[in-house]
Amino acid sequence: MNKSPVNNPDARLVLVCCGTGCIANGGLDVYRALQNELNGDEGVRVDAVTKGTGCHGMCARGPFVRIMPDDINYCQVKVSDVREIVEKTLHGGEVIKRLLFRDPRSKKTVKSHRDIDFYKRQHKIALRNVGVIDPASIEDYMARDGYQSLRKALFTMTPSQVIDEVVKAGLRGRGGAGFPTGLKWKACAAVDRLPRFIVCNGDEGDPGAFMDESVMEGDPHSILEGMAICAYAIGASAGFIYVRDEYAQSVASLGKAIEDARRHGFLGKNILGTALSFDIEIVRGGGAFVCGEETALLASIEGNVGEPRDKYVFPTERGLWGQPTVINNVETWANIPFIIHQGAASFASIGTAGSKGTKVFSVVGKVANTGLVEVPMGTTLREIIFDIAGGIPNGRKFKAVQTGGPSGGCIPESLLDLEVDFDSLARVGSMMGSGGMIVMDDRTCMVEVARYYLNFLAGESCGKCVPCREGIRRFGEILTRICQGKGTVDDLNLLESLSETVQSASLCALGRTAPNPVLSTLKYFREEYLEHIIRHRCPAGICKELTEFYIDPEFCNGCGLCAKMCPSQGIAGAKKQAHTIDQSKCIKCGECVDVCRFMAVKVR
């Protein structure tokens, strides 16, 4: 009998988010304080279970505490609030208004997460358990139909029926390229060589993306179950989860889950008494972005440097140690149990013609509600950025959204109504990638953004092939030149012809997609490049050599906030009088621009 309370609608539960973002904001301390307060008190009158859960998604407002069954959501909870929460809310049934979420647009407080726009418009499949269950409890997972899909596959379906179901669901790989998952399995199963291997790609390297992290931390069993189902479908005996070095918590969470799954007979020899034997091992990455590329990742597991190879022959035929291998991304694996449990038709009914199901995006950067968002494929950029994530804070203006990681592209305001799926993003010169979505406002310099990505990629190019190793470095040099005001108009042509070479001649996807940030910014923000080159001016006030800030006396009311915040004491002025910036002291950090509530600090 499963005693987990997570599926009992009347259970008194205190869910504390212990995702990476909330822990950095003190989430663990809040969790411990709540536990102490509830366990230590002898006269406890409430029977509440405190659970440390995975990420609730709204990381900017952590630590996040949800009290069930009333569905009271408290944001930015501090240890000093804990006693009050126990006394007033848990004992007294009273809502503490001060801790409720305040809608950034209507300024009203909201109690239930179902009334918060951020959650209301989401559709959770891959994240169905994240933030709801205690990731360290296999009982919690099982109470939410966990491992029912594995049972269903093992006892009521043949391996080829499982594969057909995944094919029919139309699931495409969530790691970036969007290859149909079912076809990948089918191809691997057709290769008549044993052993076959299964790999989970958890080397989430795109800066600004943390959806895989949240699944590995918050719902590790969904990945294990997905892999075990695949093992049955294709006849694999061993699986590996390759986790990014930076994700220590993911490693811990997955490790615990694997042990528990073995103990319950979901992994190991003769799973659930059947002929299937399959086990999973965790491999920690070494901090190399290129290892997100599947052939590089396989090389890394084998104990080699992470250099990709050309894919004339796919890993489904020659993968790990030359054996047939299925490699899928974390989010893809997390979708599998849902598809088997609910059926392919249910999954395929969500999404667009070419991209089925949902997609998790990490919406970060200059948005009000930074966090993880799962929406059906085909949702528009505008809905995601403005309706769910709350738009651009501090009264600033939307400028671009960057999708697809370092090799994706920047999409301008004119395309905000684009319905997001694998194909639509590719059409506008960007890509889905793993689902990073970085929102930029008018304080972001698009030339500098392109330079940042290309420098990032230059550092991450493995160096095996010349176009990528040398080409990306040249991009970095040219873009740096432009950022310093030393560029020429001819440089723009050079960037374009270089892009063509790197795109067509590089060995793997890292190089082939590397020019995307340059090409997309050149296409949509060419004016900004020309502004740097011809007028030696950075309109966003980011490129230090080309920036001079000044305070517009017409807007400045002399509040003195900028002078107080200036790290180099470079702003002076009398109280209630317009202030001025001492250019000799200014380090161009832009703190004054960002703190001014009256938009008085401007770029010359």
């Binding site: 920690r284 990455g285 890394s300 104990g303």
Partner: protein
């Protein structure tokens, strides 16, 4: 016998870590992870012993140690500052943090202070974008770091400002 922090580096200790793993090439990286977690860098002697144990050429171990960013052949400081330079942190001012660390401690990414107290490196996105810019000191994550709060953090770990 060298020391790093409070960890003694002895051949017995190296051996203890290395022999946790069977003789297979794929265990090069796990061994390097364990060494790094203990010493915060990879001592040369330990790598030689690992190569012997795994029966792979030292050059193979060396190529991996230098390819993967998680590892360093140079000792790190007692206090290890890692600035996140993921996209979000970058557009929210990680460069300013790097500049400020240089102003305060005189080190650039990849460097260690001569007294081996502080070292600085940059990492690509730690997944804490909601609280950008982020700084990790040893294993603790600090969010929304500014030039002013950085000074406080450095002082907290016993650093003196060199102004």
């Amino acid at each position: 016998m060298a020391t790093n922090g409070n960890q003694l580096e002895t051949e017995e200790q190296f051996q203890e870590i290395i022999t946790r793993y069977p003789t297979e090439q794929r265990y090069i990286m796990p061994i390097m992870h364990d060494l790094r977690n203990r010493y915060h860098y990879l001592p040369r002697k330990a790598l030689e012993m690992a190569a012997a144990h795994l029966q792979v050429p030292l050059s193979q171990v060396y190529s991996m140690a230098t390819f993967y960013k998680a590892f360093s052949l140079i000792p790190r400081g007692r206090v290890r500052l890692k600035t996140c330079d993921g996209t979000t942190c970058h557009i929210k001012g990680s460069q300013t943090i790097i500049e400020e660390v240089y102003k305060n401690l005189g080190i650039r990414p990849g460097e260690t202070t001569p007294d081996r107290e502080f070292s600085l490196e940059t990492v690509n996105c730690i997944g804490a974008c909601a609280i950008a810019p982020a700084l990790i000191v040893n294993d603790k994550v600090y969010g929304k770091v500014t030039a002013a709060s950085l000074k406080t953090i450095i002082r907290e770990y016993g650093g003196r400002e060199n102004e």
